[in-house]
């Protein structure tokens, strides 16, 4: 099976093949539906879908700089207000050209990550020296996520996709659970949308991109702010860096904590 989504695709024409399937010359035959029954058949009282997140990751922060992108996320995965898993990397290296930072429901992130990894293996099996580029992965994600939201069965994820395109051009974008996609020099999910984006936008020099050093300083600063003010954060974080020479996920780093000021705050 090519993927889980082709099963419901409509044939190109009457009795024709669906996208990704083969043409049946005999014609007129019903295609074998190989999706699980619970996905194709409504129960006597309709169908109920998962509408809640269970284990969640909070912030992911991505910054584009002149030679590539950096994506950072802390290592916390929460279960409601419980800090359930405190050492899980949420920034992934997809291949030498793509980094992916996952926010929102972590189970759905793992699920989509498995599918993406399988795509990368398929990509490598062609042995044609062509690697998937971040724009392509981001567009693929918009289609998958939009499809799921249209069927009212969304993947509760909010992802940051970054990397370098052909000619080493940096790319940074965000795709959310409805398939909304945009590109910018700074993108974030979770609390970083409120706390980190303004800090980064404020320090953007007019008329040029950030340098790698500026980007890395901003990441360090923002992860510190997030640790102090986002309750669903931990002091450990990983940073993915993607440049034309390849991608790596570094860390975990530790926020340089300093609570000496705490005693001066009333009510602490």
């Amino acid at each position: 099976m090519l993927n889980n989504y082709n099963g419901l695709a409509q044939p190109f024409w009457q009795n024709g093949p669906a996208p990704g399937q083969f043409y049946h010359f005999t014609g007129g035959q019903q295609q074998i539906q190989n999706l699980p029954r619970e996905l194709t058949t409504a129960g006597p009282y309709g169908t109920q879908r998962n509408t809640a997140r269970i284990t969640t990751g909070s912030s992911v922060l991505g910054i584009r700089f002149d030679g590539g992108v950096m994506i950072a996320a802390d290592t916390m995965v929460s279960y409601g207000s419980l800090s359930r898993y405190q050492s899980i990397d949420r920034v992934f290296k997809i291949n030498e050209k793509i980094l992916l930072g996952g926010g929102d429901d972590f189970a759905d992130i793992q699920s989509i990550k498995r599918t993406i990894d399988q795509k990368m293996i398929a990509d490598q099996c062609r042995a044609d020296e062509i690697e998937m580029k971040p724009t392509e992965l981001a567009m693929w994600l918009t289609r998958v996520l939009y499809n799921r939201r249209t069927r009212m069965n969304p993947l509760f994820i909010d992802v940051v996709v970054g990397g370098v395109n052909a000619e080493g051009k940096p790319f940074l974008g965000n795709v959310d659970l409805r398939g909304r996609f945009y590109e910018d020099f700074v993108v974030a999910t979770g609390f970083a949308r409120h706390l980190a984006i303004p800090l980064v936008r404020e320090s953007k020099p007019a008329g040029r991109e950030f340098t790698a050093e500026e980007a890395s300083n901003l990441i360090r600063k923002c992860m510190e702010v997030l640790y102090y003010r986002d309750t669903r954060n931990t002091s450990k974080y990983t940073v993915g860096v993607c440049t034309p020479s390849g991608s790596v996920v570094e860390g975990p780093y530790k926020v340089d904590e300093n609570w000496s000021f705490a005693s001066t705050i009333k009510g602490y």
Partner: protein, 235 residues
């Protein structure tokens, strides 16, 4: 969605259980203005992409060049806009390959209507304005509702500040409630259309939090498309 859902059986509901309802829609804001003249058409859209109090991007173009003679402005639910414009591009390309010519503005207008109505019972939550040069070489504007109703016009505003912008256009372009004889009315030139479109956006940015950052203006004539950018309030 389903009228057979759990909500239909209140006696089985457990008190205190939260039923988080997923909404497939989201308003991402943005406004469009299009003004058609005798041999040109001007279409403008702001570049802010937001939801609620978040501004996701300050530099997101909402104008989609469908051909050298046709530009679509699309705002609303951004995920729907991306899907719809993606589908339109595929269909335009299909038309070009089968008929060996580019789709005319009027044909694009009809196709957009049909494409939107195809999703009548799960609509694309978008406000579309199509601007282009028609087969007689005249500037033309088509506006749509989310389910595909299409109306040909000479000027139109749409999007989150559509209700703020339209009355200004009615007065300044449509010359509604103006006590001047037709000889005294200013002629609609490209410069005047661009100036009015720019002014309406500057005003809308004052009152609509979903409109701002900058305006992209496309001026379509038979010779092609000229692009302009104007800075707006960033707050």
């Amino acid at each position: 969605m389903s009228n057979l859902g759990f909500q239909q059986f209140p006696e089985y509901q457990v008190p205190g259980v939260q039923q988080a309802d997923f909404s497939p829609y989201e308003s991402n804001g943005g406004s469009i203005v299009a003004i058609a003249g005798d041999d040109f058409v001007v279409i403008a859209a702001d570049t802010r992409l937001s939801s609620g109090y978040n501004i996701h991007s300050r530099d997101q173009s909402k104008l989609f060049k469908l051909s050298d003679q046709t530009v679509l402005g699309s705002t609303g639910c951004w995920a729907d806009t991306l899907s719809l414009t993606g589908l339109l591009k595929v269909r335009m390309q299909g038309y070009e390959h089968t008929h060996l010519r580019t789709m005319a503005t009027d044909a694009v207008a009809q196709m957009l209507s049909i494409t939107m109505y195809n999703r009548r019972f799960f609509p694309y939550y978008v406000s579309n304005i199509l601007a282009g040069i028609d087969k007689d070489g005249k500037g033309v504007v088509y506006s749509y509702d989310p389910i595909g109703h299409c109306e040909r016009a000479f000027y139109r505003a749409g999007g989150t500040a559509g209700t703020l912008l339209q009355p200004v256009l009615d007065n300044q372009i449509g010359h509604k409630n103006i006590n001047l004889s037709s000889s005294e009315l200013p002629k609609l030139t490209i410069e005047r259309a661009v100036a009015i479109a720019s002014d309406t956006f500057i005003s809308a940015a004052e009152r609509d939090i979903y409109t701002g950052d900058s305006v992209l203006i496309n001026i379509i004539t038979k010779d092609g498309i000229e692009e302009k950018k104007l800075q707006l309030r960033l707050d």
